[in-house]
């Protein structure tokens, strides 16, 4: 098990190096430092200001090879800084990127964690329900509703939610965010409801398939033959055995709670990590974008490893060698 984890981490590290190399090619070879500086300072910026900006951001070093000091190149710099989580300053406004990440993580998590937990609870309970009533009217209605919910674009949920719950019924603020504890809930309610609606259809369809497949297994028949009630069969036997595919889907999503939801954060004006990415794209902020892509890849790899590890916990038959 330990050997397996170490091996996976080593593979992960190699993947990260590959991602970093890819980022280097994309951001340092394709984009010229002078162009980035002109984007930040304006077309008419004086030579001195451009030169100073490039130096301040470390874009003036040789790219691959420096005969005088082999370690003093942009390539080495890029790798060491990223691997030590020293992200430097934003290309757009020179604020430290790590400070901005710290500011964005709170709002992002305060939206993504409740959405994630409630999404699982709602998805599993609804899918257990329709799986229990499989091949009945309830199940068929569930299919219709789920497919309907899946077919509608998330943006429509957002605009519709803002219109219905914010504007017509006036239950929640249309948009905005305020982290103070006495008001934060009212800002989160609407994006959470919208996020749940947008996600629940797909979740229920997926979980239901898993559950229905499990209910036709032999052990379910045995359980029933022993005299276990339907509810007990569903919760004690089917749910437990259906955990593996469900876990895969859930655990792989956990790391991405940290990156926030670009769409929800943008429309509801939540200053989280998702909107940092959007702002960085709009402002030609390459340094921040690079950081966000890197963090995304780290989280993805972490998610993969976590998923594999969670199998052993969910199913004792799985052995990681």
């Amino acid at each position: 098990m330990l050997a397996y984890v170490v091996r996976r981490l080593a593979y992960g590290f190699v993947t990260v190096l590959g991602v970093l190399l890819f980022l280097f090619v994309l951001f340092f070879l394709v984009a010229q430092p002078e162009d980035i500086a002109r984007k930040a300072l304006g077309e008419k910026a004086p030579r001195e200001a451009i030169a100073q900006w490039i130096t301040n951001h470390g874009y003036d070093k040789p790219r691959f090879w420096n005969a005088d000091a082999p370690a003093d190149t942009m390539l080495v710099d890029h790798f060491t800084r990223m691997l030590t989580f020293d992200f430097g300053n934003s290309d757009a406004d020179d604020t430290p990127i790590s400070q901005r990440l710290r500011e964005g993580i709170g709002p992002s998590l305060s939206l993504s964690v409740p959405l994630f937990v409630l999404g699982i609870v709602l998805g599993i309970s609804l899918s257990l329900l329709v799986a229990f009533f499989r091949e009945t009217t309830i199940d068929r209605m569930g299919v219709v509703l789920c497919v309907l919910a899946m077919s509608v674009s998330a943006v429509l949920y957002i605009i519709g939610g803002q219109y219905l719950l914010g504007k017509l019924l006036r239950w929640f603020p249309i948009s905005g965010f305020d982290p103070s504890p006495d008001v934060v809930l009212r800002f989160l309610a609407l994006p959470v409801v919208v996020g749940l609606l947008a996600g629940v259809g797909g979740d229920v369809r997926f979980y239901r398939t898993v559950f229905v497949e499990e209910t036709s297994r032999d052990y379910v028949r045995t359980a029933r033959a022993k005299g276990a009630g339907e509810g007990r069969v569903m919760v004690r036997h089917v749910l437990r055995n259906a955990m593996i595919p469900i876990l895969t889907q859930i655990v792989i999503a956990i790391p991405f709670l940290f990156t926030g939801s670009i769409l929800l954060e943008s429309f509801f004006g939540i200053p989280g990590l998702g909107s940092i990415t959007v702002d960085a794209i709009n402002a030609n902020d390459f340094a921040t974008l690079r950081t966000m892509v890197y963090i995304g890849s780290l989280l993805f790899i972490a998610g993969q490893i976590l998923t594999d590890l969670s199998y052993t916990w969910a199913d004792p038959r799985v052995r990681l060698e």
């Binding site: 030579r47 406004d93 020179d94 803002q162 019924l169 943008s266 004006g269």
Partner: protein, 675 residues
């Protein structure tokens, strides 16, 4: 079990009811209901709060309140009129030797910077200090410093020695790293003097220009020249975790920055050490509400006796909240959670009927104020182009005149701007000296017959070149590739098609477009210009040879070059607003009318919508701070907000009922199955 289910249902119902009772769409804490807080939305965060650098509207919306300038504009009088701000009076030019012109600014005594820890650099325990002439000189030195990257350096280089100062700085920094590492004030000291910036005493500053430029005074009403403490620039250098000066302003204005979370929330609060607050007895023009204005202002409620002569500001706080999307922002404005707003295209017809507020909006005590922005939008010809430009001689002139006669600016404004634009007859917009409402440009009406006749005379009958027999094919160059913009450009292409001219829209990336403009490889374009200051010079210079885009990178994108125009322009630019100046402007206008380097389109109209509880709203056109004049009737706002935003609760009950309706049969089926 049935009983448990019923109990659970009831409990759920009560929890839901309790939650709903707590429901509100109010995005602000109740404690702020009684406070005079102005709420405004913003979309993109400010780029910089450095007054010597900031140029965008949102930047100015923030720093205009934080940094006072030596001069300001009268809030009510139109055309805009300069009044003293931090200065005691508006200086007049004084001729010096060699054609130089000097201005003396007398700066008020007892002005203080915002409290800030950076002042400890000037002496232990200090938290502020008096504003002196040296602080204005420091600001001007920053404009000249190439590392500051001020966008107005080119204009302010008219100050003698500013350019040389920048060159000396750059040279010494380049030659000596130790010099570049010195504290900023020491660097400026060592590279001094700037010949045309003379500090005559703590409260007297003399500015000397190399040539007459009467418009210089307007630049002292803009943040570029606002006094800045060297301590703040030195302390906030953006290194080792310290904020940069662009994010940490220290000014002299009526408000100070209380919170700068620029991606979400910007809060300004009234500055208790502002000179208007410390010295109400001065009755300084920039620190009290004006008693005079335009004749119509009384009827608009802008000359209310409660305000005249009262010390500013009236607001306790300005809260700016970020709303990236304009539809939610506008919805929140309608709910009363923002105090003022523009009008979004999607809702325009609901808000405005035939130029007036709709019945529904009037009933909601909404107010509309319209103002013409001192700006002009136009279609331009590249006068360097062999076909449409000056080299084409009389043929090309007639072609330009014909094309001008085909464009219906009024229809354009109706289709694409909800009619929010006044068809332009000349480069000069209303509200600027030299604007003549009675003037109708004979080439700026739609007359297709005349246009076709002109084309025939030019040898382009029906758009076919008589000499070569080939149809005319022109190119309209633009950096805007959006679908929305394409519709607009297609409008022009269709208009020209009607007189037989085929115009292709060449939409490219911004870089490619810039490159085409640099090389002079373009024919037609659309551009706009918004005034920096209210003077005709700021519009007519757009056609001055010296401002040519391709040759000198100036804003004369049409590359118009006309010796007669240049001579008249030079005389007009340095004159006071008198009858002779008016004559000169008329002559300049006649040249533009005949030569047609531009097809003037419109002067945009700004429709500002605000709630009845917001007092003293008058648009300035320029991006000038007005918040200190505004007032909020907070109790009225709180009452109306509560009235209009009472949550509708019955759908929640319906939702619970529906839930029960689904759950009961489900539970029953479940129980039956169990048995």
């Amino acid at each position: 079990l049935k009983r448990t289910a019923v109990a659970a249902l009831l409990a759920a119902h009560f929890v839901l009811a309790a939650l709903l009772a707590a429901c509100t769409n109010n995005p602000y804490p109740v404690s702020d209901d009684a406070a005079k807080v102005l709420y405004l939305p913003f979309d993109d965060p400010p780029k910089t709060l450095d007054p010597q650098v900031a140029y965008s509207t949102i930047d100015h919306a923030v720093i205009g309140n934080l940094y006072d300038t030596l001069l300001e504009y009268h809030y009510l009088k139109r055309p805009l009129e300069l009044i003293p701000g931090l200065a005691e009076d508006v200086p007049s030019p004084r001729a010096e030797a060699d054609g130089r012109v000097a201005y003396t600014f007398r700066i008020r005594h007892g002005l203080r910077f915002h409290d800030d820890p950076c002042f400890a650099l000037g002496g232990e325990g200090r938290s502020t200090r008096e504003v002196t002439a040296s602080d204005v000189a420091f600001a001007l030195a920053r404009v000249g410093d190439p590392l500051v990257n001020s966008p107005v350096l080119e204009t302010l280089e008219k100050i003698v020695g500013l350019k040389q100062f920048g060159e000396r700085l750059a040279e010494r920094r380049g030659a000596d790293p130790a010099f570049a590492a010195l504290r900023i004030d020491a660097q400026y000291e060592a590279a001094a003097p700037i010949e045309g910036v003379r500090v005559r005493g703590p409260h007297e500053l003399e500015i000397v220009l190399g040539e007459p430029y009467p418009q210089i005074v307007y630049w002292f009403a803009m943040p570029f020249t606002a006094p800045v403490p060297w301590e703040a620039v030195a302390a906030y250098d953006g290194r080792e975790g310290r904020p940069s000066f662009a994010e940490h302003p220290v000014g002299t204005g009526p408000f100070r920055l209380a919170r700068y979370d620029k991606r979400a929330r910007i809060v300004l609060e009234a500055n208790p050490t502002w000179y208007g607050v410390l010295h109400p007895e001065w009755q300084a023009p920039g620190a009290v509400y004006p008693a005079q204005g335009e004749p119509e202002d009384a009827a608009r409620g802008l000359l209310d006796g409660r305000y005249a002569g009262r010390p500013l500001p009236f607001l306790e706080r300005i809260e700016m909240r970020r709303d990236k999307e304009d539809i939610p922002a506008f919805s929140k404005f309608l709910q009363g959670y923002y105090d003022a707003s523009g009008i979004i295209q999607e809702s325009f017809d609901r808000i405005v009927h035939e130029g007036e507020l709709s019945e529904e909006m009037r009933a909601a005590d909404m107010k509309l104020v319209k103002g013409v922005t001192p700006a002009v939008y136009y279609l331009g010809f590249n006068m360097d182009d062999p076909l449409v430009g000056a080299a084409g001689g009389e043929r090309a002139r007639k072609l330009r005149q014909a094309m001008s006669l085909a464009i219906d600016a009024k229809e354009y404004a109706r289709l694409f701007m909800n009619g929010r634009g006044i068809p332009a007859q000349s480069p000069i917009p209303p509200g600027i000296f030299g604007y003549d409402a009675a003037y109708a440009n004979p080439y700026r009406r739609v007359d297709l017959e005349r246009a076709r006749a002109l084309l025939r005379e030019a040898g382009y009958a029906d758009g076919v070149d008589a000499q070569s027999g080939k149809p005319l094919h022109l190119s309209f160059d633009t950096p805007d590739t959006s679908a929305r913009a394409m519709l607009r450009f297609q409008f022009f292409a269709n208009a020209w098609k009607r007189i037989g001219i085929d115009v292709e829209i060449a939409a490219t990336s911004y870089n490619q477009f810039q490159d085409k403009v640099r090389r002079g490889a373009f024919q037609l374009f659309m551009w706009g210009w918004v005034a920096d200051y209210p003077d005709p010079e700021n519009f007519l210079f757009l056609l001055w040879t010296q401002m040519g885009r391709t040759k000198s990178g100036g804003p004369n994108t049409a590359n118009f070059s006309h010796p007669g125009y240049d001579a008249l322009f030079l005389e007009m630019k340095n004159r006071p607003n008198d009858a002779r100046r008016e004559d000169l402007i008329r002559e300049l206008r006649a040249i533009v009318e005949r030569e047609r380097p531009w097809i003037e389109l419109f002067h945009p109209e700004d429709y500002a919508l605000y709630h009845g509880w917001l007092a003293n709203v008058k648009p300035m056109g320029l991006s000038v701070p007005t918040s200190k004049y505004r007032d909020i009737d907070a109790p009225a706002r709180a009452r109306l907000r509560a009235e209009r935003n009472r949550p509708v609760r019955w759908p929640a009950a319906l939702l619970v009922a529906a839930f029960v309706a689904v759950l009961v049969p489900t539970v029953r089926t479940y129980l039956r199955e169990r048995q």
